[in-house]
Assembly symmetry: C2
Homo-oligomer: 346 residues x 2
C-alpha cells in the first residue's frame, strides 16, 4: 500500500542504499543521483517508515515520549500538556498522551503500551498505585520524570510545587483575619497534592492553637458539583464555618458556584471567606474576587520536559527534585473577617 524505499530505488534506477542515504540526508551521494532519487520520492509520494527505521537504529532515540496525566480535560493538566508538547515539538519529538483518571490500573495499561512503542521517556503524574513497573522500565533505559506529585519509593526526577507551604500560608492568612472555624474541602487525601495541602491546613491551625475539627473537613470531592454540594451542607449545619480553604481549582469553582461567598455578609465588612488553591479564569471578576494560591502549570510542564530531554540526551547526574514556588494572590475573598461570632481570644 505505502511505497517503500525499494519502490523508490526501482523508480530512480538506483540501489536501496542510495535512497536511504538521500532520505536520511547523509553525505556521499552525487547531486545528480540525489536529484533523481528526490524526484522519484515526489512522484511516488514516498514517506519514511520511522518505526522500521527505529527498529534498526538500535540504541538511538525514537523521538517519542509519553505523557500521562490525571485528566487531560482538567485545565491544570491541559496547560501542562500543552507546554510539554511545545517543548517536544521544538526538539522534534512526538508525544503519546493519556489520562489515568486516578486509576492505577489504567495508569499501568497506558504506561505499558507507551513502553511497548519504545518511547524514549515518560512524564507521569503518578496515581497512588504501585510503581515498581516504572522501575523496571527505567532499568531498560526509559527515562522518567514525575510531575505534580512524586512517585512513592522511586528515585526519579520530579517537578512539584510547595503545596504544603502554600496551603499553610493561605490558612494562616484566614486565621490572621480573625477566622477560627475554617473548613477544608479537597479531593481524595490519597492524592499527594491533596494530602500535602491538607497537611498545610492542619499545620496552620495547630500553630495558631486552633483545634482540628473534622466536622468541617471534606475529602474525596471530585469535580465542581460535588464540591458545591459539600459546602452547602457545611453551611447548613449547626455550627457552620466562617471560612473555607479549598484544595484545588475544581473544588474552588464548586464553592463559588454554590453561591455562599456571594450572598453571606456585606462585602468589605465581613462575610464568608474563601481562599482556593489554583488560580482560575475570572477569579478577579467575581464578587468578591477570589484570593488564591497560584501555581504555573505551563512552567511545571516546561521544566519537566526540559529535565526529561536532558536525561534522554545523556544527563546521568543524580535525580533532581525541582520544587517550584506558589504565589499567594490576595484579591478580596480571603481578606474578610468572620461575621459571627467575632474572635474569642480568651
Amino acid at each position: 500500500m505505502r511505497p517503500t524505499m525499494k519502490d523508490v530505488a526501482r523508480a530512480a534506477g538506483v540501489s536501496l542504499m542510495t535512497v536511504s542515504r538521500v532520505v536520511g540526508g547523509e553525505p556521499g551521494v552525487s547531486p545528480q543521483t540525489a536529484a533523481k532519487v528526490e524526484s522519484a520520492i515526489r512522484a511516488l509520494g514516498y514517506q519514511r517508515n520511522d518505526n522500521a527505521r527505529n527498529l534498526r537504529r538500535q540504541g538511538q532515540d525514537s523521538r517519542t515520549i509519553g505523557l500521562l496525566v490525571d485528566d487531560l480535560a482538567n485545565p491544570f493538566f491541559s496547560a501542562l500538556a500543552r507546554s510539554v508538547e511545545d517543548e517536544a515539538y521544538r526538539r522534534g519529538s512526538l508525544v503519546l498522551v493519556g489520562s489515568t483518571n486516578d486509576d492505577p490500573r489504567r495508569e499501568r495499561d497506558v504506561l505499558s503500551a507507551f513502553c511497548s512503542r519504545q518511547v524514549d521517556g515518560l512524564i507521569v503524574v503518578p496515581t497512588g498505585g504501585n510503581h515498581s513497573f516504572l522501575r523496571s522500565q527505567m532499568a531498560r533505559g526509559v527515562k522518567v520524570v514525575s510531575v505534580d506529585r512524586p512517585v512513592a519509593g522511586l528515585d526519579v526526577d520530579s517537578v512539584t510545587v510547595d503545596n504544603r507551604a502554600g496551603a499553610e500560608r493561605a490558612v494562616r492568612h484566614l486565621i490572621d483575619h480573625g477566622h477560627r472555624r475554617i473548613a477544608y474541602l479537597g479531593d481524595r487525601r490519597e492524592i499527594w497534592t491533596q494530602g500535602e495541602r491538607y497537611a498545610g491546613y492542619v499545620a496552620a491551625l495547630a500553630s495558631a492553637g486552633i483545634g482540628l475539627d473534622v466536622a468541617v473537613t471534606r475529602h474525596g470531592l471530585r469535580g465542581q458539583p460535588e464540591a458545591a454540594g459539600a459546602v452547602r451542607e457545611l453551611m447548613a449545619a449547626a455550627d457552620p464555618p466562617t471560612a473555607v480553604f479549598s484544595g484545588n481549582d475544581l473544588v474552588t469553582l464548586g464553592v463559588v458556584d454554590s453561591g455562599v461567598i456571594g450572598t453571606v455578609g456585606a462585602a468589605g465588612v465581613g462575610g464568608f471567606a474563601l481562599v482556593g488553591f489554583d488560580d482560575f479564569p475570572l477569579s478577579e471578576r467575581l464578587d468578591p474576587p477570589v484570593t488564591v494560591v497560584s501555581q504555573d502549570p505551563a512552567a511545571i510542564g516546561r521544566t519537566a520536559a526540559q529535565l526529561l530531554f536532558g536525561r534522554i540526551d545523556g544527563d546521568a547526574s543524580a535525580p533532581r527534585s525541582v520544587v517550584l514556588l506558589t504565589r499567594f494572590v490576595e484579591r478580596g475573598s480571603g481578606e474578610r473577617g468572620p461575621i459571627s461570632p467575632p474572635r474569642r481570644d480568651s
Copy 2:
C-alpha cells in the same frame, strides 16, 4: 538493553516461535510450555516491541491514532481530546497528540511525523492551510476525520456544529430585545468556525433590516486580554454598541473580564447585553449570568473518534458530515434591553 523474544526463548529452553505464540495469546501451546515461557518472561521482565510487531503484521492496525487540535490548553480542545482518548483507550489504541497553534507549517510537520509512525488514522482540527498532504495520506490508507471545522476541498468525515445557525439565533435574540447596535468580537475570520459565526451575525442583522457597521466588528482576537482591550475600545468610542456577540469562549471571557457588563446599567432594567458562543465555567454565577450558545466538546470528540474507529474497522461508506446542534442558554446577560437610545422603529 531490553530483552527480546530470543532471550526469553533461550531462558525457557524453547523456540522463539513458541514465545511469540504465548506472548500473542495464540492457541497451540501446551499449558506446561506456556508456564515455562511465562516464568521466563517475568524473570527477564520481557515486554513486546510493538513497533517490530507492527512492522511484520502488514496491513493490520498499529493501534495508534493521531489527534491534532488548535491548542491543547484551550478548554474546548482539551475536553475534546479527553473524550477522544477515552474512546481510544476503550479500543486499545494509543493517541499521539499535537497542537497546530493555527500554524499550517506546524500542522504539516506534526501530521507528517504522525504518519511516519504508521498511525491508523487522524483526527484533525484543520488550519486554513493546504491539505493535499492529507489526501495523499488517505490514498495510502490512513483514515481521516476532521473535527470542529471541515477540511477545505477534501472529502472526509467531519464533525462540526451548526455555528452559523447558532450565531444567528443569538444575534436575533439580542435584536428581539431591542438592540440595534450590536458588536461582533471574534478570532481570525479565516478560522472556519469564526467565519461561520460572523456570517450568522451578518445574516441576523440583515434579516432585521439593520445595516452592518464594521466599526463595531473586530476579528483576529486571540485570547482573553486582546478581547478585553477591544471591547473597552469599542465602549469608549463615539457611538458605542449596546450589545456584544462574542465568537468564542476566550473572547467572551475577555469581554466579561473587561468589566463592561457588570458596571453599565441596572441589572434587570437595561444595560449592556452580551451573548457568547461557547459555555464556560461560572457563566451562571456572574452578574448578570451570561447567556451563551453552548456546544458539547466531549460529544464532538466522542463522535469523531467513533467515526474514525468505524473507518479503521473497515467502514467504507461515503464520507459523512455530522453536524451536532448547539444549545441556546438564556441566563440574563442577553435579555436586557439597550440603555439608550431605546428602539427607534420608524
